[in-house]
């Protein structure tokens, strides 16, 4: 019974934790600009993230190492430094995007400039991490994130043609604007396997003392949780394709994206969209801020645990205390949270190989994984997707950014 409860909780928290500012923004962009044509990217990315999440969880269950901890030990400090710099830059941008997402959500319901909310959101975020424990941060925020199921209800309400949706699952070349199509594709992939998520997942497993007996639960969480989470992202693409694109509305700002829920929910549409965006981004910003603290603490061998009092792991607490205001400053300085989001998601795809390939090395290491090593299918599939996403990102990012 306890196992069943754990599995249910794992699935529920995965649904809530799956969606963040990147998933919402890239799915809305894709649906408005290309209809259902990009569903296949989402499907492919979801299968890949299921593999990656399962691997990361298995690593923690078998080796009792978090991902960063194991990478530093196996690949050396020099490689870790490279990873640290890359992930620090990308995580700070993602943190800025998530804080910006919460601030924009508050702006959507109040009409007040989102920048006024940035310091308030940042303080609330810091306070919750400072006072909370890991289970409060993880489960509380993720349970609140269940409100994002409104996208699924909305999609059901407006009713797409399932035949056409299934056709979108087949890979297809862009019907127009190829550069934007591929940039959006890497954004979707980047939003699905954000590097912070893998280390956060393994750190959470260590915090919750996972062991070999948790391997089945990890597998169920990875497959069902990520699968249900993906249903929400699919719903956003479909809603956007049904309610925005055919009217000629592209998603250049969150004000435009919010219209997708007006058709199914009427006057409740905008407040619901704001609630979905706000809770999803707040949950994700907790995870990114904590991951930055995990990254430094595990890399440099400091005390770390969200379950310890801040004075017991002072350097861990200082790291998130510095990271959160930095993210807040970035969102105010860079402006336009939607652009920060799409750009940081594409950067995620660029950074993915730096963290995924060491994970694959670890997953095939007899010393770490014993008889729980990877099968060849997982290795090949994940490597192929990550390499393809990296190559497309390497070309699409300069074209999109410098081409304006």
């Amino acid at each position: 019974m306890k196992n069943l409860t754990n599995v249910a909780l794992g699935i529920v928290t995965s649904i809530g934790g799956f969606l963040d500012v990147g998933a919402i923004a890239t799915a809305a962009l894709a649906g408005a600009a290309f209809g259902l044509q990009m569903l296949w990217v989402l499907a492919l990315g979801t299968i890949c993230v299921m593999f990656l999440t399962e691997m990361a969880g298995r690593l923690a269950c078998v080796s009792h190492h978090s991902l960063v901890d194991a990478v530093r030990e196996r690949c050396g400090f020099r490689y870790f430094s490279f990873l640290l710099v890359g992930e620090l830059l990308v995580d700070l941008l993602v943190l800025a995007a998530e804080i910006g997402g919460v601030a924009v959500a508050l702006h959507l319901v109040t009409g007040i400039d989102y920048r006024w909310f940035v310091p308030i959101v940042a303080f609330a975020l810091w306070l919750l991490i400072w006072l909370g424990t890991f289970s409060i941060v993880q489960n509380g925020a993720s349970l609140l994130g269940l409100i994002t199921l409104a996208f699924v209800v909305g999609m059901w309400w407006v009713g797409p043609s399932w035949h056409e949706a299934m056709r979108g699952m087949l890979p297809s070349a862009p019907s127009h604007d190829a550069a934007r199509y591929w940039f959006t594709a890497v954004g979707i992939i980047g939003a699905l396997f954000e590097p912070f998520m893998l280390n956060f997942y393994t750190s959470g497993a260590i915090e919750e003392k996972w062991s070999l007996k948790d391997i089945p639960m990890n597998r169920v969480t990875a497959v069902l949780g990520m699968g249900f989470g993906a249903v929400i992202a699919f719903s956003i693409v479909i809603l956007s394709a049904l309610t925005l694109g055919p009217h000629g509305i592209q998603v250049d700002s969150y004000e435009q994206a919010a219209f997708m829920l007006v058709e199914p929910f009427g006057s409740w549409g905008i407040p619901l969209f704001a609630a979905c965006l706000g809770t999803a981004c707040f949950g994700a910003s907790l995870q990114v801020a904590l991951n930055l603290a995990y990254l430094f603490s595990q890399g440099f061998g400091w005390n770390w645990s969200e379950n310890l009092k801040p004075h017991e792991d002072a350097r861990f607490a200082i790291t998130y205390t510095l990271a959160i205001p930095l993210g807040a400053v970035l969102v105010v300085m860079l402006g336009d949270p939607l652009q920060i989001t799409t750009f940081s998601m594409a950067l995620n795809a660029l950074l993915a190989p730096v963290i995924v390939f060491p994970l694959l090395i670890l997953m095939n290491d007899r010393h770490y994984m014993r008889e729980y090593r990877n099968h060849v299918v997982g290795n090949v599939f994940v490597s192929a997707i990550v390499v393809i996403a990296f190559l497309i990102a390497a070309v699409a990012i300069p074209l999109e950014v410098l081409g304006g």
């Binding site: 797409p160 592209q250 004000e255 006057s267 300069p398």
Partner: protein, 131 residues
Amino acid sequence: MLRLGAAIATVVILAGCSQSPDKAAKEARDAAGSWGATLSAAAERWGSGEISTSYFQSVVTQARTSLKKEAQSARTSGGDAAAAPVEAISAHVEAISDAAARGDRAAAIQAAHAAASAVPAHKTPPVARPQ
């Protein structure tokens, strides 16, 4: 290997930097069309009471800001001709904003429809829905 990488990077960057006037004009037209369609939909929703006045005003403010940026960018890359569609929509934004401030929903809808028809938006094919 390093040289080859540098050469590829240079080609990609140069290809990206050289935004042609045609491309700038197309991007400006797309953005203008999208904002015209957004304003039209928002005004209709405001007219039917589905969105609040403050939200409608937020949309109008965001449209004004984005169109201003778009016009500047189009003018830099493609000259005044490229920025013309954006200017055409911007002219209606003020009328919509005034109507919103007065609470005149009919005038806002009329001005928003005029904005949408000034620069037709690029629409994706409608997705079939079951009967």
